[in-house]
Structure formats: C-alpha cells, structure tokens
C-alpha cells in the first residue's frame, strides 16, 4: 500500500488508501501495546502535512497562480539569492504542498499499520540466523519502537509526580532522554536474553563460508534497496531498477541458502501458510496492480497536479484495486481472543491494553503481509 501511495499524487486515491488501511487495522488489530502505534503515526502524518504547508507559505517559490494573500517579505542578502521568505501566497502552491504532505502522511500511516498489526517478536523469529550480527541489531531496533510508546507513558507519569510540564516544548525536551534511555535498556535486555538462549548458534562451520554467505546476503539486500528505489523513482538509474532488484533478490536467496544450510535451527509448530494468507498477500498487490493498470491504460488522473487548478478525477480501476485491499479485514484469520480477564502484573507502566493482548497463532503470521505485500 505504501508503494501505491508513492506512485500516485491523486488526493482522492491517497485519502482512500489511508481509509482502507485504517479500516483493516481497526478490524484486525489486537490490544497489544504496539497496536496503538497507528494513532501515533496518524498524528505524525498530520504534523507532516502541517509542516509542509507552513514551509510552503514561508519559503514560497513565487509560482504563478491565484494569489490568496500576501505576506510581508524579507529581503535576503545576495548569497541567499533564490530563497524567498514571505511574499504572495498562491492557492495552487498551498494545495500542492498539502498534496505532498498527504503523500508522506499516507506512507507513514501504512508503516504505522504494519507496526500495529505485526508483533515485532514474531517477525523476528523468522529472521534467518545467517544474519546474526545484523539480526541482533534488528532485534534491538524492532523492540525499540513499541517500547518507546510504553516508556513515554511511564515517564510522563513520573514527570507529573515531579511537578513538571508533561506537554508542550519543555515537556518534550525533558522527556526525550529518559524515554530513549528506558527503551534502549529494554531492547538491550531482549538482545542479551536472545543471545543467552542460543540465538545465532552455529556448529563448527568454517569461517570463510559463513562470511561469504553473510556478505552475499548483505550485498543482495543493498541491491534490493537500490533496485526498489530505481523502480519507484521513475527516470533515475537509467531504467536499471528492475534488473538490479532481480539481481539483489537472487544474491539474497543465494546467501540465505548457503548460510541456512549451515545453521542448526528448527521450527516449532510453524505458522500455516494457507489460503487466507495468500488472499491477504494478494490483496495488497492488487492495489498496486490496479494503479499500474490504470496508468497503463492512459488514465491521467493517477498523476494529478494542481497546475492548473482543477478538481481531481477518480480513476475507477485504481479505486477498485485499493478497495480490494479491504479484503484482509475479513479474510485474515481473526486473532482468537483466548485471554481471560486475568490479572496483569502490576508494573509501573499500568498498561491496561497489555492485558488483553490476544493470542495470535495463524493470524499474526499472515497479518504482516497485509502491509508487506504493499511495501
């Protein structure tokens, strides 16, 4: 879905993507602590839009258009020529800025959704042991984001107890350090616990094979990143995006298979990958496919611009594609709620939702793909 958002500039389509994503999350999220990260990302998205518009107004580019109002403008010294502060503000420019912000915001919301549906622990278990060192780093990073949400709550409580501001700029500044500290601590603990329980063990594999496997995987991953960029940013890399992407995937596969052979790791009752999982993954791709098809068929409203000022049209095919992404809301296996109204440990966090965090067997395995399919 995030990819779809990058590829379009039509505000109606963007709004629709956001709505679909939020709906799916609402239908299928658990009450785990990280589920609330969507709200956080939503807020972040709104801030992004606001900042983008303010920047556009203040540093306006003096593009022609319907002038709304005129700000007093500053005359800058000659070395800053080309940068304008203040001056006439055009409606088109503001709308364009809004659109830009909206795109970013929708992408953020997609990531927020990924975060709130997928348990980081569960994703982590799927990580191949070849990437041991990287794996530990990823562990730390993955545990970091949801932990921050929890830590913020307890730090905010503590600040209130000290009689300090919990809101506003002063509050934010004072909270940053303890929050980061707390979340980092927690993540390090997780990593050390994984290590002492044998994560990344290898039997007597020789070092050079291991190193080769690791480097193949890492280079492959890098190639994938570059390739994805090439595919998304049309016109860069001279059309080499797709080949690079393919080569990257091949290298990754090679590295993982060589390394995987050497690691002694088994799976306990692996998550089944049955038709609901396929449906979920496919529906994510559908949105992208719909958009691509609409574009291929020459629908101009996929790439939309407010120059000249106009009401955006609605490409039907792309619409259908995005709506298909609603399917997971029904198709994804519901998280079975087997958790009784049992007492929670009474930690300083006092997080109510931690209690109801539902058990997810088949469900969690598939739900990450809702978003991964679109990433």
């Amino acid at each position: 879905m995030a990819v779809t958002a990058i590829k379009t500039t039509n505000p109606l389509l963007l709004a629709m993507i956001a709505a679909v994503v939020i709906f799916v999350v609402a239908a299928r999220r658990t009450a785990a602590p990280w589920s609330r990260s969507l709200t956080f990302f939503l807020r972040l998205g709104l801030i992004v839009i606001a900042i983008r518009i303010v920047v556009e107004i203040v540093f306006n580019q003096r593009l022609p258009g319907h002038v709304l109002f005129v700000l007093p403008h500053l005359t800058l010294p000659h070395w800053a020529a080309g940068v304008y502060i203040g001056g006439p503000v055009a409606l088109e420019a503001i709308l364009e800025a809004f659109l830009d912000g909206l795109r970013l915001a929708v992408i953020l919301v997609c990531f927020g959704a990924a975060n709130s549906l997928a348990s980081p622990y569960r994703l982590l278990r799927c990580l191949p042991a070849v990437l041991y060192e990287a794996g530990v780093a990823v562990t730390v990073a993955l545990a970091f984001a949801p932990e921050i949400v929890i830590t913020i709550a307890s730090v905010r409580e503590a600040r209130r107890l000290r009689g300090r501001a919990t809101r506003g700029l002063a509050g934010l500044r004072g909270m940053a350090i303890p929050v980061l500290e707390g979340a980092l601590d927690r993540s390090l603990q997780l990593a050390s616990s994984m290590d002492s329980r044998g994560y990344g063990r290898r039997d007597g594999t020789n070092r050079s094979t291991r190193r080769r496997a690791t480097s193949a995987t890492v280079i492959g991953l890098l190639a994938v990143v570059v390739g994805v960029y090439g595919v998304l940013a049309v016109g860069s890399l001279f059309g080499l995006g797709l080949p690079i992407l393919a080569a990257g995937i091949a290298l990754c596969a090679l590295g993982l298979s060589v390394g995987g052979k050497r690691t002694t790791r088994t799976r306990y009752r692996p998550d089944p990958w049955r038709w609901p999982e396929w449906v979920v993954a496919a529906s994510g791709l559908c949105a992208l496919a719909g958009l691509a098809a609409a574009e291929a068929l020459g629908s101009t409203s996929v790439q939309f611009s407010f120059y000249p000022l106009a009401v955006p049209g609605l490409p039907v095919l792309a619409c259908v594609g995005i709506l298909v992404a609603l399917v997971p809301a029904i198709a994804a296996p519901a998280p079975p709620a087997t958790v009784g109204p049992k007492a929670l440990g009474e930690p300083a966090t006092l997080e109510p939702s931690a209690v109801a965090k539902a058990v997810t067997f088949g469900a969690a395995g598939s739900r990450p793909t809702v978003v991964e399919g679109g990433r």
């Binding site: 622990y121 278990r125 107890l161 930690p347 058990v359 997810t360």
Partner: protein
C-alpha cells in the same frame, strides 16, 4: 559443574574491580544462594557463569570460568545455551515471543532440536512447572509469578544442567514467590539440576539453600559455606535467624518448621505478655483525614482494576496496601495522584480532585515514589537533581538537599543518580518527593532490591514521617516490612478491599501475609524480633 578459577572482573573505565580473585566451585545438584548488597557484584558473578559477562557487558575478565567442561573463554553465551539457563531479574523483558508455548520452544529452535522432540519437551516442561493451562496465553497477560515460571521453563526446555536466577522473587507477592521457589526446589530434587540463585529476601530462600555465597562487594573475597554456620555470624540475617540468636537456639533453625519445633518454651514464656510496638497505640488514634476515596472504580477496557473502594487516609498513620500481583494496588496509588480519571466515584486529596490539579500544586499535597524510583530522577548529578527539585516545587534552594541529608546522610553529591546504590537512589527519590512536604506520601514497592541495612534505614524514615504527622501509604509484598512499620493494613483482591484493620490483626490472621516471627510464635500475634526482644528484656531472663 561450575568452576571459577582466579576470576577478576572490572567494567571498562572503572578502577575498582567488581570481582577480584574469585575461586569458587559448585558441584552437581547443588542449590546455591548468592547474597550481597546491591552493586556488590552478585549479578556480575551470575552473568559470568554463562558468559554474558564479558561478552555482552564489556569489561575485562581475568581468570577462567568453566561450566560443564566448557570455558567461557572459547564459548560465547549462545554456545553455552544448552548447558546454562539464565533467568534475568525482569522476566517480562526477556521474552522473545508472545505466547507461552512459543516462548518455551524458542531456545530449542535455536539449538536445532527435532520438531517431534521439541513437542515432547514442551509438554514435559508445561507439566513440570504447572503451566499447561497457560500454554496458549499471551505472555503479557500472565501474572508476575506465572511469568517467572514461564521464564524458568523457557530456559529449562533446552535441558541445561545449570540454572542461574537473578532475584527471581523480588517482584512477586508472597504466594507467587513460594510457587517459584517450590518449583526450583523440585527441579533440584527431581532432576539433579545445579541451581544458583541471587536473592535479597533471605527469609524466602534460606530454607532451600544447600550452600550460601556471600558477596561482600568492593572486590573483597567471597564467603562460601553451609547456610547454618554462615548465618551465625552474618551481619545480615532474616528474622528467623535473629530470633534464633536471641533465644539461643542450637543449631540455628532456617525454616519455620524447624523453628516451631524448638520454639515451644519461648512461646510459653511470651504467652502472658501482650505484644506491642513503641508508638503503636498512639498511631491508631485517627487523626485528621488527609485523603479519601468514595465508591472509586477504575476499569481498563474489560478489566476491572479496582472496584467500589471507600477508603480514608489519616495523618500520623502508616498504611500498608497488600494483595497479590495485579490486585489493584498500583492503580489505587495512581488514582491518589490523579494519573488518570476514575471510571466511577471520586478521589479527594486535601479537598481537591487530583486529576484536575496542576502538577506543581499536586506535589505539595501528595507525593508518590514509583516502583522504579529511578524514573523520578533526570539530572546528571545528585546535586543538580536536588536543585532542580527545589526549582520545580518553588522551594528555598537547599531544601531538597537538606531533606536528603535527613533521609540518608552521605549520598555523594557529584555522582550520577544511575550510579547510586538502590538504597541511595530510593533515598534521593524520597527526598525529592518529601521536599515540598506533602501530607500524603505514597510508596510503591519500596523494598524491591533493597538490602537489609537500607531497609532498616527506610523503616526509621517511615517512622519519622508518621511521627511528623504525614500519612504514609505503602504498596508492598514485603511482609517483614509491613510487620515492622505498618499501623494499618489493607488487603486488596481483584480490586476489592477484603481486609482493613490494624496491621497486627490483618497480617497475623493470614497464612500468606504473616511474617516469619508470627508464624513461629502463633497463635500469639508477635510480629518482629524487636518486639520479642523488648518483651524478654522487660520480664528478665
């Protein structure tokens, strides 16, 4: 089984070694208890056994640690996972997966055990630790005791030969702690596992110990030996040992059962005396009410945290809130400082609703020291912490520093709060909270991680607070603390008040919350060794 040869360790930039020239050998099937003050190097010693020290912590380790024939020199922690199982202080922080069953299987997956064997071992472990009803539960929904048992199970499935536990019961209520310790004792007896446990609350683990290891700290040599012998001269001792010393029992009893057998003459001598504690009667006089709740209920979604609670908090009283993990103690304290609006009912603190109160005004009326006292501290040094506290509360500069001096003299001013000992950190947090002189002082689990001397200090401070007319509320699992300091005790269960009355009556009538002395001297309601000593001195030998 475990062999430490001339082991010395210091952290990166530190001058003083945490451990120096440690020689220790632990044989198979032993249950060793490691005792020492916070910061004495207990945790370092434990982590050295599976190589987390120095692989994960950094620092310099000299000498050699050999576990089941493997040296940590050549084997990083992950290579020792099938020999040593390490359970950390906070089990929730060590969970890698989110469901009980997956968590149990995690270590085996890493070891590459056959799926069929894995399935079998998971079932065995579920049975062994009594977890089978919880198998599909989310880890976060478990109570503290259950989490701790899952954490133990999660390392047991790898069938290690050594189990290392760092303060496994410090966060648990008495019943849950018993549950965990019983599981440990069973592992030692049935499976011949070697177990090393670090623990502050000696009274809980001593009956199970085969050997005691005292870590004096600052690199002084370890004292290792039979618990009974070591206890005779140990400066730190649980109440049962102190009572034994007082009564001159030989050999020193370590369990309540042993003590009760020899205690019959003592019980007879004390039968005619009414047990009291200095100041106890005075405190029961109801002073003016500082805070009250009226039909207070709080729910988190489906969960009812506290339900329909009517309580009054009076001046000059130390109130102990007890109850198992998750019974609503912390929620109730949170309500008194207005952390979130109640679902129903009202809270009244000195005539105000704490939720609507500005933070600055709030701290003049009520102060809360949270479970993790460090959360209250932000500054880089103790001195800076004190002056910001003065500034925050609008006090005369120096007020907090003076308060700190009263609570615990000699806290180094230039030290970072994180580098303080647990007791010093608590004292600093307490000073910060007390400086604006709030009439209502709340402490959430203050003795967690405290050694005996720090606990003595805390008891003295709480007594002073009561005498100065504060209303003190403690939420705690520590029954010995309650026995020593509380005037009134309230037991919460599932968010409701099930007992409310004079502490002596409440704790003595409950088999779970009774302190050791009360268990030994039942049916007479004696609570502490000090009371017994006072009584014996009164009647003469």
């Amino acid at each position: 089984m475990i062999e430490l040869r001339d082991v010395s360790f210091r952290y990166g930039e530190s001058e003083i070694p945490t451990l120096s020239h440690v020689e220790l050998s632990i044989s198979e099937g032993e249950l060793c208890v490691v005792v020492g003050q916070t910061g004495s190097g207990k945790s370092t010693l434990l982590k050295a056994i599976n190589g987390l020290v120095p692989y994960f912590t950094g620092g310099h380790l000299a000498g050699e640690v050999i576990v089941a024939g493997r040296s940590t020199r050549d084997h990083p922690p992950r290579e020792l996972a099938d020999v040593v199982g390490l359970v950390g202080q906070n089990p929730a922080a060590s969970f890698v997966t989110d469901v009980v069953e997956d968590e149990l299987a995690y270590a085996m997956e890493n070891l590459g055990i056959e799926p069929a064997a894995m399935r079998r071992r998971v079932e065995d472990t579920l049975d062994l630790l009594g977890l089978h009803e919880l198998r599909a539960r989310s880890l976060l929904s478990l109570s503290g005791g259950q989490q701790q048992r899952v954490a133990i199970g999660a390392v047991l499935t790898a069938s290690p030969r050594v189990l290392v536990l760092d303060e496994p019961t410090s966060a648990l209520d008495p019943a849950a702690a018993e549950e965990v310790l019983a599981a440990l004792a069973r592992l030692v007896h049935d499976l011949g596992l070697t177990v090393v446990v670090a623990e502050h609350r000696l009274e809980r683990v001593l009956p199970f110990a085969d050997r005691l290891i005292i870590v004096p700290g600052d690199g002084a040599p370890l004292q290792v030996g039979d618990p009974g012998e070591l206890m005779e001269h140990s400066p730190v001792a649980p109440p049962i040992v102190e009572l034994g010393r007082l009564a001159g029992w030989e050999p020193l009893p370590l369990s309540v059962r042993d003590a009760r057998r020899i205690a019959a003459p003592l019980r007879e001598r004390l039968a005619t005396i009414e047990p009291t504690r200095p100041g106890e009667g005075a405190a029961l006089r109801p002073g003016s009410v500082v805070a009250a709740t009226h039909r207070l209920s709080v729910s988190y979604g489906e969960l009812r945290a506290i339900w329909d609670i009517d309580l009054r908090f009076c001046r000059g009283e130390v109130l102990a809130l007890m109850g198992r993990n998750g019974s609503g103690k912390s929620t109730l304290l949170g309500q008194l400082v207005g952390l979130r609006p109640p679902t129903a009912g009202t809270v009244d603190v000195a005539g105000h609703d704490p939720v609507g109160l500005g933070a600055r005004k709030l701290i003049k009326l009520v102060g809360l020291v949270p479970q993790d006292a460090g959360l209250l501290l932000y500054s880089a040094t103790v001195g800076a912490e004190c002056s910001t506290a003065d500034h925050d509360a609008g006090l005369e500069p120096g007020t907090t520093a003076a308060t700190l001096d009263r609570v615990l003299p000699g806290v180094p001013v230039g030290r970072h709060p994180r580098d303080l000992s647990e007791g010093q950190r608590l004292a600093l947090a307490l000073a910060v909270v007390l400086a604006p002189a709030p009439p209502l002082v709340l402490l959430d689990e203050p003795t967690r991680g405290l050694d005996y001397p720090s606990k003595d200090r805390l008891v003295a401070v709480l007594g002073d607070l009561r005498d100065a007319g504060h209303s003190v509320v403690l939420a705690t699992h520590d029954v010995e603390l309650v026995a020593r300091v509380a005037d009134r005790a309230i037991v919460l269960a599932d968010g409701e008040v099930v007992a409310d009355g004079p502490a002596r009556q409440v704790v003595c009538h409950s088999p779970v919350f009774a302190p050791q002395v009360a268990k030994i001297l039942a049916p007479e309601p004696w609570l502490t060794v000090a009371e017994v000593r006072g009584a014996l001195e009164g009647v003469g030998p």
